[in-house]
Amino acid sequence: MDWNKIKTIFIIVFFILNIFLFLLFFNRYNEAQEYQVDGETTIQERLQADNIRFNSTPVDTIKESYASGNIQVYSFEDLPESENQTYEVFNSTELLASFNEPIGLGTLVNPTVVNLFVNEHVFNGASYELFKIDETSMEATYFQTINNRQIFHNQNALLTIYWNEENEVYKYEQTALEDLEAFEQTENLLTDDTAVEVLYQRNLIKPNSTISLISLGYSTLVQLTETQVFAPTWRVRVELQDGTNEDYFVNAVEGKIIEFSKDPEEIVEQ
């Protein structure tokens, strides 16, 4: 037997085998590139497929701190003297101001006129920001702010303006937090896109709707005996196909959906 011939045959056979295996690998690789894996569909593509549109400006906040505040106790000495306003205080923490002569808002009630009224006539009005106007019940709801961020649905940081059928404000109710301060420690926040993703994955954003507003605020995390602690929270407003609006809230640190119960003391995190 010629050992040299056997060696040559082996080299040729293995060379051919290697070429064959390489071609096999190359074909498989090319085939794999032609398929898209279901799980890799981006959230944007899925939103697009469900015809969910964005009509809100992206928010760039990356870091934010928790914050805290104490419930304000009203004292008549602190309230500004006004010939047109009569003050009543309930449970030391709820202020009711009634106008002896109701103040007109104009022919059309819109955010601009209500904001003007609040800044001009409401005690510490500048520390509140409009949440919604309900034209049917003729009232506007404001939430108190920390560093220009709203404290969502907190019964102790609320302002409600009431007007009559002549669009004249006849009273407002107010609660407030004081000693508001941010914690030293800052937290990395989930992006507003992630908040939308969380809501979408829980089927809370319906097809054919529009995300009309995304803003960062605070919601109550912990209630201590004197102090409340607030966590950064995304508010996502969704406009449905029929024109109605739904507001959702997502804890911006942990990504949990927050439901505000009608019971003022109860906050439900999902």
Binding site: S68, F183, E184, V222, L224, T225, V229, K256
Partner: protein
Amino acid sequence: MRFSVLASGSSGNAIYVENEEHAFLVDAGLSGRKIDELLTSIDRNNKKLSGILVTHEHSDHIKGLGIVARKYQVPIYANVKTWKAMDHLVGKIPLDQRFHFDMETVKTFGSLDIQSFAVSHDAADPMFYVFHENGRKLVLITDTGYVSDRMKGYIQGADSYIFESNHDVGMLQMCRYPWSIKRRILSDVGHVSNEDAAVAMSEVVEEKPTRIYLSHLSKDNNMKDLARMSVTQTLKSCGIVTGEFLNLYDTDTNKATKLVTV
């Protein structure tokens, strides 16, 4: 007697205590390099250690134990059950560096008396320490599900406390941890909450200058500001106003507290 909390939290724990003659580490739950770095930050080093006292075998208390002990030939003190539980976790420790420190006993190192006492935690035989010198008392108590009357007897009337204030119960209940973990933390062999810690503090502090270092804070279910507020308000509801004779201090997972004299 002086001390510094080098690091505190579930990512690693180490406390440095010294007097004129001796220096101890209580637990070495960080890497050897990190312990070196933290000791350097308070102008101290591992070379002068008289011993490492171990509280229990959980990794956040013994992570760097074997390395530090072998590198600097430092004696290790722990009770029998803790030795058994951690033997395979710390690597080979030479026999002449292995010492027993039994539960509820006192060991004397010059003018320093170190007393051990049992805590309620899900470890083999967990215990913490009270340091006594010239009538001054330093208490270390973390990793306990509750503070029993027996523990209160040991820790009564100290000048300084390194006291666990692990979590806010509300935050823990709402967090993403699996229920089994939540149940473990809230149990009698878990960790003590801000409020429960404060109630226990109110029962053991005496009306004299007292420092309390809030320790072993949960990374996910507590914050320094929250722990301080919660403990302050609970103490107030128990009739103790912080800032009068009692002051609260923060500890950190990554930064040593200032070396202070007890």
